[in-house]
């Protein structure tokens, strides 16, 4: 991480209030300023990205700051956006590859899974692919089955990929900065319903592979149940933890932040303390990453484990159908109570 030069001249890191989208733009902007090898490319980047995530807090599009050579509007060619990212990385750049929504990254799956992820190993360490592929995930109101999916477990399954899923503006800034320094191919999954969320951002990288305590257990330090989650679902878990607190149940919410490598030590430690682990994610529960976390905890602790995700159904368009795919506060509360055998 030595090739990273920060533009911050003050001793104290800068703090600002930004949306989740602006935080990412700020991270990218600062990385691009510090390192001329960082470039971004994808469809509609010239307009600041479809979600405004390539527009700085003062409203300017990054292309107006860095020029068309470094913020590249591309044809609708997902395979080649990703494949070109691999080629650019091999030829000395650090590309940020925009996929618009994770669902469309499926058109670039060979380039991501067989090319980017395998390059370094397959060529015996000759090649490095330091690219950040941005794959926005999650349910996005009334966007239906092809614009709402969460595929983090697919990519966590692939050796050679780092998988990141920030839940706050602060983490979206800090994790993107780290992703841009790490030298490995990173699948960077932002949640579409978090773009507008506002929060305080410390302009410092956040280490990959470390969980964050999103909600602490009771003041006594007693923990009854560990809730593990990531991305948008962290906020729902925090609400559920508050509801449990009203019943005198102390939940600790851990935000994994990085799906691979994931912070096994933090999760195991919390599960040992509480004796109860519930993993909650927005993705379909079947074969989801929650299964990996739950199995690991079961293998290494005496904790009782459970997981909670969406039913294995496509996300429907009508509100009533979409709701079936959403994991809500009450469901989490009920699952936690069942786990504690208090329901």
């Amino acid at each position: 991480m030595t090739d990273f030069a920060t533009t911050n001249t003050a001793n104290e890191p800068r703090v600002s209030t930004l949306t989740y989208a602006q935080a990412a733009a700020a991270a990218l902007q600062e990385a691009m300023r510090a390192d001329q090898h960082v470039v971004a490319m994808g469809e509609d980047l010239g307009r600041g990205g479809v979600f405004g995530q390539y527009r700085s807090a003062d409203g300017r599009n990054l292309v107006d700051i860095f020029g068309e050579e470094r913020v590249i509007d591309t044809p609708i060619s997902e395979a080649t956006i990703m494949g070109a990212g691999v080629g650019m990385a091999l030829a000395g750049l650090r590309p940020v590859v925009e996929m618009r929504v994770a669902d469309f990254a499926l058109c670039a799956i060979d380039e991501l899974v067989n090319q980017a992820a395998k390059n370094r190993y397959m060529f015996g360490g000759q090649g490095r692919v330091p690219l950040v592929a941005r794959l926005p995930i999650g349910i996005w109101t009334a966007s239906a089955a092809q614009h709402s999916q969460s595929f983090e477990s697919w990519f966590a399954h692939v050796p050679g990929l780092v998988v990141v899923a920030p839940s706050t503006p602060a983490d979206n800034y800090g994790l993107l900065r780290s992703a841009l320094q790490c030298g490995d191919p990173v699948v960077y999954m932002e949640h579409k319903e978090l773009w507008g969320m506002s929060g305080e951002v410390v302009h410092e990288p956040v280490e990959l592979g470390r969980a964050r305590v999103a909600f602490s257990a009771g003041p006594s330090g007693r923990t009854d149940v560990t809730l593990v989650s990531w991305s948008r679902q962290v906020h729902v878990c925090v609400d559920a933890a508050r509801a449990l607190a009203e019943q005198g149940i102390h939940a600790e919410v851990l935000d994994l932040r990085t799906i691979w490598p994931w912070d096994r030590d933090a999760v195991l430690a919390s599960a040992r303390r509480s004796g109860h682990l519930l993993v909650v994610h927005e993705a379909v529960q079947a074969a989801g990453f929650g299964a990996e976390v739950a199995a690991t905890v079961a293998e290494h602790t005496d904790a009782r484990v459970a997981r909670l995700g969406a039913p294995r159904i496509p996300v429907g368009y009508a509100g009533s159908l979409e709701l079936e795919s959403r994991v809500g506060v009450e469901q989490i509360r009920q699952s936690a109570l069942r786990l504690l055998k208090r329901a």
């Binding site: 470039v39 050579e69 470094r70 590249i72 591309t74 044809p75 060619s77 395979a79 080649t80 990703m82 494949g83 070109a84 990212g85 691999v86 080629g87 650019m88 990385a89 091999l90 030829a91 000395g92 750049l93 590309p95 060979d110 380039e111 067989n114 090319q115 390059n119 370094r120 190993y121 397959m122 060529f123 015996g124 360490g125 000759q126 090649g127 050796p159 050679g160 990929l161 780092v162 790490c182 030298g183 490995d184 990173v186 990959l208 592979g209 990085t258 691979w260 490598p261 096994r264 030590d265």
Partner: protein, 335 residues
Amino acid sequence: MTDLLSLFRTMVRIRAFEDAAEAASQGGVSWGGAATGKPGEVRVKGPLHLSTGQEAVATGVCAHLGPEDLLTSTHRGHGHTLAKGADSTKMMCELFGRATGYNAGKGGSMHIADFSVGMLGANGVVTAGLPIAVGAAHALKIRKTGAIAVSFFGDGAINRGPFLEALNWAQVFKLPVLFVCEDNQISATTKSAPMTAGTNAASARAQSLDIEATRVDGNDVEAVSDAASQLIAQIRAGSGPRLLHAITYRQKGHVSVDPATYRKQEEVAEALKDDPILRARALLAQRGLGEQAARIEAEAKAEIDAAVAAASAAPAPDAAAAYTDILTTGEGMWK
């Protein structure tokens, strides 16, 4: 150095390499998957795609490239790799699955690569090299290095979507890239023509995007070299992408243990008369350079014999190497 003798030297080195690799692969896994022979004696395992008969294309194109120029290849990549300047011993070590191979034994024939000479790898996925070459060219343009990227691909590869995407991208951004269609008229075990709409499809599809394309006799190494020389000069001068469509012939089966019974013996016999090395050898003799040519061929055989000997004696990778060069992020956190 693009005189016929030096082109001939590259071609016969490739031929010797392919012949040796083929010999070392016999008795491995048969076409269809059943194990044959004694595994201990088989030194080159797995799918081995030989470029025997196609040497003139790799040779004629790479003669005009330097180590700063970047190259992506196909599953049939030995010739491209040697022509780009790789070391035959390190290549043979890789085919033999040795720790001393270019890929430390992790890639084998299908992923042979030498990044130090700009050869960014053979590829097990048809057409996958084109978008990567386009990205490399894009980076070279942004970085203003003056170098170019070249992508070899087969005539079957033009029927996958990334072909169109990559050519369009290269033209939209006016990138310094040469696309080389190595048209051996067959895809795996199926003739390409009935599977491909349009005539002269590789050239025609490029031309439909306003990318200039040149068709050439891919068994005439001087013709390939001349055509490549012109196209590469245009690209270096800022023309944007160009396509070279070289018609050649795959003398062997799809993989080394494929007897290729799907084609007629007469067809093969006829094609062998057009062998690029035979043709170059005859030309050299005509020009009074027969003796030098014979010496070059002997040297090539000796070089490759030595490569085989070195590879045979080289160590296998440590099993612990299976865990290295995957990710840096999280390394040592836990396995």
